[in-house]
Amino acid sequence: MPRLSIDGREIEAKAGQTVMQAARDNGIFIPYFCWHPNLSVPGNCRICVVGVAEKDGGEWVEIACNMPVAEGMVVFTASEKVKARRKATMEFITLNHPVDCGICDKAGECTLQDYHFEYNGERSVSRDAKTHATKHFDLSDRIVLDNERCIQCTRCVRFTREISKSNGLGMLDRGDHSIVRPSADGSFATDAYSDNVIDLCPVGALLAKDFLHQARVWYLKATPSVCPGCERGCGVNLWHRKDEWMLRSPRQAARNEGIDRVTPIENPAVNGPWVCNKARDLPKLLGRTRAAGAMFKGAPAPLEAAVLEARTLITEAKRPAAVISSWASNEELAAFKAALGARFALVGKRDHEPQPGEVVQDDLLIRADKNPNAAGVRAVLGECAAQVPGDADLVLVWGEGFDFRAVPAGAKIVFLNAFLAPENGHADVFLPVSIQTERSGHYTNFAGVTSRFEPCFAPAAGVLHAEALFGSLAGNGRGA
């Protein structure tokens, strides 16, 4: 365990670490563009230089990301030499970088902006016009590349080599004509993890098309959540408008209720720092048209009356079956169990199945079960039956993905669903319920790791929380 000092502070490193790693483990910050804890070390940006004391009192300067720790090393992260070198490096990196901040989505979370002000802060010293490159290159259907902004850190290229293994991106040509391009075999377009390069890019070179020019990042707040796209349950941040930045035009108001973008939350126990593209598409998945109100066989009904009718049907049923949503949170499942569990025959359900063209399962993150909480269902309710019992006289359907042809003839249907769907009209009683962005809760993933999600929005009026609803559906006419 080598002991070294960084800026006068004694730290203990692990054998085989670099100074960059040892510093980070001890909360000491050394700037970096090309380095990433989960990728190989190319050592090309040169910003992470540190000074190391020499025996004769001098100081040599070298990149920290490739510098093995040595016993007794004396390291400086901010000596005059290091500062001068960092300033020169920033001058080079910004030499031909377009000052696009005013129109660049990365502004506000841009490493280049931050480091420019921290390590240089002055205007360009060049007396030559900036060079130009392709401004808007379709890297894929999802990602746009601005080659002028690119600082050739190669994080995106290395991600496709080392993590997603699609080999979808490369750095073609050479010198200052080097240019990121996708492989001509289309492997980037089919890379299910492609959008991680957007987070990885330290500048605004790689941008999500869905989010392009939608909002300044400081208009948005990030709410921690769990991706419901499969049973991996990756940690995600759902970004949506801060109250003070809500759009004020009635014609744009709907955007205030939507998620603007999704980024990973690093969770070593679940997904590391990555998510697959399905997580990025959650705004579309969760933003589908909602079921607006309660219904009796497709006809709008007052909410209280619908709840009352549902309770009546449930109470009167002799052999009720409940088809359990695998998108239910642990809290909702517990509430169901407490209120109704004893009475119902339990049927399991995969609300979502893999869609054509969707990766079913791989050895990175993607799991075949496209639902977030089958494990939670098992943990709270035990093993559920695969089919609705043929003699059921009432079927309580909870969530999407149920084939209503499986309802025994003559059985009553109470249907709880969040989204607008034709099947909503099949139910004797239809009740609209909330989705995960409208409440807090937990999912348990396939490996037994439980993760929490927080609410982003309040549910619309007339939309119920299933957790509270189950109590109302139980009992003998008592309670709301």
Partner: protein
Amino acid sequence: MPGRQLIMNFEVTPTSHTFADYKARGGYETLGKALAMAPADITKEVTASGLLGHGGAAFPVGRKWGVMKPNPGEIHYLCANADEGEPGTFKDRWILEHAPHLLVESMLITSYALGVRHAFVYIRGEFDLPYRRIQAAIDEAYAAGLLGKPVPGSDFTLDIVVYRGAGSYVCGEASGLITSIEGRKPYPRNRPPRLTVKGLFQKPTVINNVESLANITGIIRMGAEEFRKVGTAKSPGTQLISISGHIAKPGVYEVEYGYSWAKFLDEDCGGMLHGAKMKCVVPGGISTKVLTRAEIENLTLSHESVNPAGSGLGSGGMIVIAEGTCMVRLLQVLLRFYHHESCGQCTPCREGMGWMHRIIDRILAGEGLPEDIDRLYAISHANDGTTICGMGDAAGFATVGILNKFRDEFEYFIANKRSKMDGRLECPA
């Protein structure tokens, strides 16, 4: 003859490069002697000889070898660096064309010493005759049973593959060279790890310049002590100097270290082209700093003489420049080259080469600014010791060297929007 000759010590004829002629001059006898020695003793002998690398860095060859001790079961590789891309340098080509078997025998001895089973000759893709000659020599060695199967009388086997480059100066950099052999873009690598620890396909690898290797056979044949009698104490042996530019008799000359520089130029090389006066000289490839005629008057061709004068013998690519040559135009040719050859990996070189090239072009277009000179210094300084490989440093040395000695020409060009030397690069007849 500029001193004793160890390599160019035979008459070049239409067949002197062949296996038969080489054998007739005693070729492959030293191989037998070497294979009877312990591998460690060969390395010891090379170390004792004080042989310094001839690729440009003058790193002690024995010291590089000493890191890669033979270890049965461990795969080691040897690469002969025949990329010869340093402008002004064309001496490895002489060895490949006229003494290819000297290289083959030396590679056999070296591989035996280092525990190498497969060796490579990395030759720049443009070379035509040198490539055909070395490949033919290797084919002859295979036919003679010296390669591809145990050398008669020993159990040592070596295979040599000639690997052609495809046009890239950084393939002359050791780590760029091996990344090229790996079938990828030839990006140089950061160290650590040293290539003698993790090199070609992550195996310990020694990369030596062709001329460095060519010396090995002689060292083992005559012994380190005899070898040290040639040259000087600090610069043992000889150097193949490629001389070009405004000199009457350009070509490859073998110079014994310690030989008078002035004598070499004025006598052995026939003096200046068209009897011109000498302005300055690039000593050892464009990445070494220029020295004026006055500065070299009393120097010898040796490391201990040239280094303190603020330059180096580098790769031995000597370019002689006559009075009246425009140093501003000359620098532009160099910066255009470095810009073209930058691999683009690391920030200071990738951005800096283009920047310097644009500045010098602007100066030449009559749009120079007084601050441009200091800017060229600053960019050069910011590339000194800050890059993944030595190319950034090299461009900086070339620039600083010329600016230090000829700043007046740059100031003149900027102030007057034209060359003080009428833009001359050629030497008038």
